[in-house]
């Protein structure tokens, strides 16, 4: 889960199941994809799947999608996107929903229609609202048709039909039995962790100076390229994605859809979506930073509310919107760490310092006076019987350390106590009295009588260098040469 998802890798992995346009080839492949989708928890992978499905034209294949449980997956994603107020993702999901060959039993199966309906009424984003309304009308049409012709629950390809309907009749029949149950709770988690992590990553890449301009330029094209790359890539399991800066760019584009700000653009083309997403990235930036510590999906929503204004002012100018980002986004991850503990440190120094050891430590900076006064410290007398339970850990540790040091010292100064005045060695009388012919020793003796001894009470007092000698006049006499050879000498060859 913690691994960032590289959409390109993902696409490569999926490519055997996709045709040239990036659409799913057939029913069997669709079955696999649905399975994968159920496990897809990250925004990146979800977006990839959504895009794949959106280019899948074949109604049969899409029906397979519904049959294999795609419908409940969509429901879960939508619910999830709504709870986290991820308008961009909602939009993406709804765009797909619009294309699905739904039948009335699908609509009855879960609360997707309810979600869409509520979106069509209460969504803060007008684009989401209109799309939801559009979707609602399409579905009402389906229901109407179904009620008009109960025996035939199969709708025609009315994906593009947009009739006006207001209600979802409850009396349609089922056909889809094997829709698996999707574990809804897991999404909350995803929203908080996976998605965020992904954002951070995207942002970081976005900010890489080298990548940024290139990205901007290639945005519109990229989408197409990406599409085709979808089909060309090979099969790699979902989990182990390696990040590669080059690929990352694409993630970025792809994933930004999720954060696309609905206010920004009303163009419904895919590429516009990507563009929007890119431009709106700045608004997203703060999210990971703020959200993670709190772990609350609510924060996300509040951020989302701010986002429109940000984005508006930026108005799709990628350079502007991106440039202020780097500092914040670049440190998105580190800041997270910095921030999360930040509330902690203040209590930590004060509290543990008191609590852990039970007495104040050297620094009293964090203490308040009242606390300091409550501490009582008793010096234990040597040999005094002590209440074991009242002994605190620090004292014990200190004692332990001292005794260890003593032992260690003993070891190092092996037998410090073993020193005793050494005995004189029984030696034959010296050949000469040492220094007997020294005149300088007498000079020094005289000198010491008149010159005060330098006494240094501490090592710090000792000067770096002795005093310089008194200057004395002397004539430079070239030294006598000591010859290396003497012809008169007897050379012993051995």
């Amino acid at each position: 889960m913690g691994q960032p998802v590289d959409p390109l890798t993902l696409l490569k992995a999926l490519s055997p199941m996709l045709d040239v346009t990036g659409a799913v080839i057939g029913g069997e492949e669709m079955q696999n994809i649905v399975k994968l989708m159920k496990d897809a928890t990250k925004l990146v992978s979800r977006c990839v799947y959504l895009n794949i499905l959106r280019v899948t034209e074949s109604t049969e294949v899409l029906e397979q999608f519904l049959a294999y449980g795609g419908w409940s997956v969509m429901n879960a994603w939508l619910a999830d996107a709504k709870s986290s107020e991820n308008m961009a993702l909602i939009l993406e999901v709804m765009k797909l929903l619009q294309r699905l060959p739904l039948r009335i039993d699908h609509l009855k199966q879960n609360n997707t229609p309810k979600i869409v309906k509520s979106l069509s009424k209460s969504a803060t984003c007008t684009k989401v609202k209109s799309t939801a309304a559009n979707l609602m009308s399409t579905w009402l049409n389906i229901i109407r048709n179904a009620s008009a012709n109960p025996s035939n629950s199969k709708p025609k390809k009315e994906t593009k039909v947009k009739p006006k309907l207001d209600k979802i009749p409850k009396k349609e029949k089922k056909e889809d039995k094997k829709v698996p149950v999707v574990r809804a709770p897991s999404f909350a988690k995803i929203r908080k962790t996976v998605g965020l992590r992904f954002f951070e990553e995207v942002i970081i890449y976005l900010l890489k100076p080298g990548l940024e301009p290139e990205m901007k330029k290639s945005q519109p094209k990229k989408i197409n390229n990406k599409r085709s790359s979808i089909e060309n890539d090979d099969n790699v399991p979902d989990k182990k994605f390696k990040t590669d800066p080059k690929h990352q760019k694409k993630i970025l584009i792809n994933s930004n859809i999720i954060h696309k700000n609905p206010f920004q653009s009303t163009i419904v083309t895919i590429s516009a979506g990507f563009m929007d997403a890119l431009n709106s990235v700045p608004t997203v930036v703060k999210r990971p930073v703020k959200r993670r510590p709190t772990k609350s999906p609510k924060t996300n929503s509040s951020n989302d509310k701010h986002s429109p204004s940000h984005t508006m002012s930026v108005s799709g100018e990628a350079i502007q919107s991106n440039s202020p980002l780097p500092p914040a986004a670049d440190f998105g991850e580190p800041m997270d760490h910095d921030r999360t503990p930040s509330p902690v440190p203040s209590p930590t120094p004060s509290k543990p310092r008191m609590n852990k050891w039970g007495k104040p430590m050297k620094s009293v900076r964090w203490m308040d006076d009242s606390r300091l006064e409550t501490i009582r410290y008793f010096e234990c007398e040597e040999g005094e019987r002590v209440n074991v339970t009242s002994q605190n850990f620090k004292d014990a540790m200190q004692r332990d350390r001292m005794s260890e040091r003593e032992k260690l010292g003993d070891f190092h100064h092996k037998g410090d106590n073993s020193w005793k005045k050494p005995q004189l060695i029984d030696l034959p009388a010296s050949l000469v009295e040492p220094g007997s012919n020294s005149i300088e020793k007498d000079i020094q003796k005289e000198r010491e009588k008149t010159v005060l001894q330098e006494i240094f009470l501490s090592i710090e007092m000792v000067p770096d260098s002795p005093a310089e000698p008194d200057p004395e006049p002397y004539e430079m006499v070239p030294p006598k040469v000591i010859p290396i050879d003497d012809n008169t000498s007897i050379i012993k060859q051995l």
């Binding site: 050494p422 006598k480 000591i482």
Partner: protein
């Protein structure tokens, strides 16, 4: 009550005290003639004086940060030292420890000094440098008394009576000079088989003047007859894998030869007479055991790496 030095005593030496006064290698040590004090010079530019006979503790620390300090030697006053500089210049400096003041500089060498030897009797001293000269000086004058040009790294030392000095040349010859007529050339030359894979790094006479000990920066230590120049022993078995000029020294009676080891923190002791190994003493020195010296009068040893270790025999006599 004096103690006789014998195999059992040598084998019983144990570290009695370790001092950690220095932060870098102790490059040289010297006992005072009465054996009461020990002075050490370190690459951390400090000089530490120890009481090594009575209380066994460090007495005083002085700095020579400006010029550095190496090859430290007591002079006869007991409170004065000479040492070579390893910073600024290659002069030899004469310092009064009493008032922490230089008394005189002996300038002349143009490269690092690698040996320095005080006359046991008078105020003269010898120095050898990588500038391929050996110089003879007198403490009372800053001017050089004698200068010998040699083809390679020099080693030089006085004999215990202070009447002659020996110069090792090219790791193959020992030349003996009479101090009274050194300008006439050596009175004798011993030519030995050249040590090709190592250099001679120090030369010492035994206290009776009969033996010459030559230490190398390789894995051999040679013992030579000081009168006739015959090679007597070659001591091996200590480690010196890093080509360090490890110090080798005689016991005060000349019966034993001691050397440190570059790795295992041990002191190797050989019998000078028969060349056999008498003992290997574990000093647990963490670094190369640079200096080992026997106290000239007391039954104690000092060995150094970055730490200073004092050794005492663990047997009573």
């Amino acid at each position: 009550m004096k103690m006789k030095l014998g195999d059992s005593v040598v084998k019983s030496f144990r570290v009695a005290k370790v001092f950690r006064e220095n932060t870098d290698r102790i490059n040289s040590i010297d006992f005072s003639a009465n054996g009461e004090n020990l002075i050490s010079a370190s690459d951390d530019d400090s000089i530490v004086i120890y009481d090594c006979a009575n209380e066994g503790k460090s007495k005083r620390t002085l700095n020579s940060k400006k010029y550095g300090v190496d090859h430290i030697n007591y002079t006869h006053a007991g409170n004065t030292v000479i040492y070579s500089s390893n910073k600024v210049d290659d002069a030899i400096r004469y310092q009064s420890l009493h008032d922490n003041k230089y008394l005189r500089y002996f300038a002349g060498h143009t490269k690092r000094v690698v040996c320095l030897c005080m006359s046991p009797v008078d105020d003269s001293f010898l120095s050898g440098s990588l500038d391929k000269t050996i110089r003879l000086w007198d403490l009372r004058s800053p001017t050089c008394q004698g200068r010998m040009q040699i083809p390679g790294r020099p080693i030089a030392s006085f004999d215990p009576e202070g009447l002659i000095f020996a110069a090792g040349i090219n790791s193959e010859m020992i030349k003996l000079y009479d101090l009274r007529s050194f300008d006439k050339g050596p009175f004798t030359t011993f030519r030995l088989q050249q040590d090709k894979d190592c250099d001679w790094t120090s030369l010492k006479f035994s206290s009776d003047g009969k033996l010459i000990l030559i230490a190398t920066n390789g894995t051999v230590i040679r013992l030579i007859d000081a009168f006739h120049g015959q090679p007597l022993q070659t001591f091996m078995g200590h480690l010196n894998t890093k080509g360090l000029p490890l110090e080798a020294s005689f016991s005060p009676d000349g019966q034993y030869v001691l050397s440190g080891s570059s790795q295992d923190g041990r002191i190797h002791v050989w019998n000078a007479e028969n060349g056999s190994k008498t003992a290997v003493l574990n000093g647990s020195h963490p670094g190369p055991l640079q200096c080992v010296k026997f106290n000239p009068r007391y039954m104690m040893l000092a060995s150094t790496c970055t730490n200073m270790a004092f050794w005492l025999p663990s047997v009573e006599e």
